[in-house]
């Protein structure tokens, strides 16, 4: 019997797919060929080990996370490339989504009008909003957000500073990156604890920014410093950290940002 045919028979037998006639044929071949017997035993042992390996249960919140994200589909849209078209397409497919979006847009306008009238602009969170460069840490005014944690990642050709800022119930992750082209900065968070309320970029760059489920990633396409402010809204109990991972062409680094506001004096 040809090797290929023998291999097929062995695999089909172990996979439980061989017909009775094929099983008998294999039995006869194995009885007369020691090399084939050895190979069959070895293959059978692989099946045995794989069969003993257990199937893992998925994380209990996986489904909940998926369903929550479906209900917040707008958050899933790419920030830079054609998000208007994607939203437009979503409206065409799901008119109800369009009504919901219109309602949300109306509500946002109302909030904005209220903020302007009262002087409490939502985005005026105390973080400098104009373009800046040349410094990794722009100064913050008195009584504004304060830094509760930071991590600096040094790369071969750059660095990334990740900071967690907080003031009252406002939380902002600030990522300042000067990194080689192709570097990807990923901020991930527990979507049960946080949701993204807004994102700002300084200055406007050609970098790819993707808001995903429980994560935001920035792929550096343009040389120079860029800064991202990720406005977070708390959904669950305090203290769930943000995870920062940087994949650069020269390596990988990662770390966590604490989000728990330290008690005064601690």
């Amino acid at each position: 019997m040809k090797d290929k045919e023998m291999q097929r028979l062995m695999n089909d037998q172990l996979d439980g797919l061989a017909t009775p006639a094929e099983s008998e044929r294999l039995r006869r071949e194995l009885a007369s060929d020691e090399g084939a017997r050895k190979e069959y035993r070895s293959l059978g042992a692989v099946f045995d080990v794989l069969n003993r390996a257990e199937i893992e249960e998925p994380p209990p919140d996986l489904k909940q996370n998926v369903m929550r994200a479906i209900h917040h589909r707008v958050e899933m849209m790419p920030v830079r490339k054609g998000w208007r078209e994607l939203i437009g397409a979503a409206f065409r497919k799901r008119p109800a989504f369009g009504y919901a979006y219109s309602f949300a847009a109306g509500a946002a306008l109302a909030v904005l009008a209220f903020a302007l009238l009262t002087g409490n602009s939502i985005m005026g969170s105390g973080i400098e909003s104009g373009p800046f460069s040349g410094t990794m840490l722009p100064s913050l005014g008195v009584g504004q957000l304060r830094r509760i944690d930071s991590r600096e990642f040094t790369l071969r050709d750059g660095r990334v500073l990740a900071e967690m800022l907080s003031g009252g119930d406002r939380f902002v992750a600030r990522i300042t990156a000067r990194a080689p082209e192709g570097t990807e900065v990923v901020v991930s968070y527990d979507p049960g604890s946080w949701s993204v309320a807004g994102l700002r970029q300084h200055p406007a760059t050609a970098n790819d920014v993707m808001l995903g489920f429980g994560r935001i990633s920035v792929r550096i396409q343009q040389i120079g410093e860029s800064q991202y402010l990720l406005y977070l809204a708390r959904r669950g109990p305090a203290g769930s950290p943000l995870r920062i991972a940087i994949h650069s062409p020269n390596g990988h680094v990662q770390g966590e940002l604490e989000t728990r506001v330290p008690r005064p004096g601690s």
């Binding site: 893992e56 994380p59 369903m67």
Partner: protein, 181 residues
């Protein structure tokens, strides 16, 4: 779940019934999570990938060709997602987060963890092409025909890849001291 029930769920999803999609998530999350976990070797990444796959499936349901099987389509998305993830990871140093069984409880648990980790380490030594055929056959229990459809290669290629992958695994198991009966 029989096929026409799945068709009904898809129909309801397309009409905007999120609950129907929830039932599809129930149906496939375990197997998709395990495929992803065995492909990338990291629970957290596997969770992210599985969630992304479901969301992509939901977003693109309108493009799904109903003449094909839903699971083949979702598996295809899963395979693409995991391969993209592995390609990104290849350019970087390995994460120091592979599944570890440092903390074992009873002996039985320890042995199970050790086997789990050894199998995972061995799988990670295979190239993605060989790894995915092993995973789809042994962990997702797909038939040759289903694998052929998911991987978009002829059944003959599936069989030949599987055989080679199993031989390679046997060598890795022996080398790493996994007890072969």
């Amino acid at each position: 779940m029989v096929e026409h029930e799945e068709d009904g769920l898809l129909e309801r999803c397309l009409e905007g019934d999120g609950g129907a999609f929830g039932q599809l998530v129930d149906r496939y999350q375990r197997v998709l999570f395990n495929v992803s976990l065995r492909m990338v070797g990291n629970r957290e990444d596997a969770r992210d990938i599985t969630q992304t796959v479901f969301l992509k499936a939901y977003e693109n349901l309108g493009k799904f060709d109903r003449r094909h099987r839903f699971f083949s389509w979702v598996y295809r998305i899963m395979i693409n997602e995991t391969l993209n993830h592995l390609n990104r990871a290849r350019r970087t140093e390995p994460l120091d987060e592979t599944m570890a069984a440092e903390q074992c409880g009873p002996d039985e648990d320890c042995a199970r963890h050790r086997l789990h980790d050894s199998v995972q380490s061995a799988l990670m030594e295979l190239s993605p092409d060989y790894r995915q055929v092993i995973i789809l056959r042994h962990f997702a229990q797909l038939s040759y025909q289903e694998m052929s459809s998911v991987l978009e290669v002829p059944e003959k290629t599936v069989k030949s890849r599987l055989h080679t992958a199993r031989q390679l695994l046997g060598g890795i198991f022996s080398k790493s001291g996994i007890a072969l009966s």
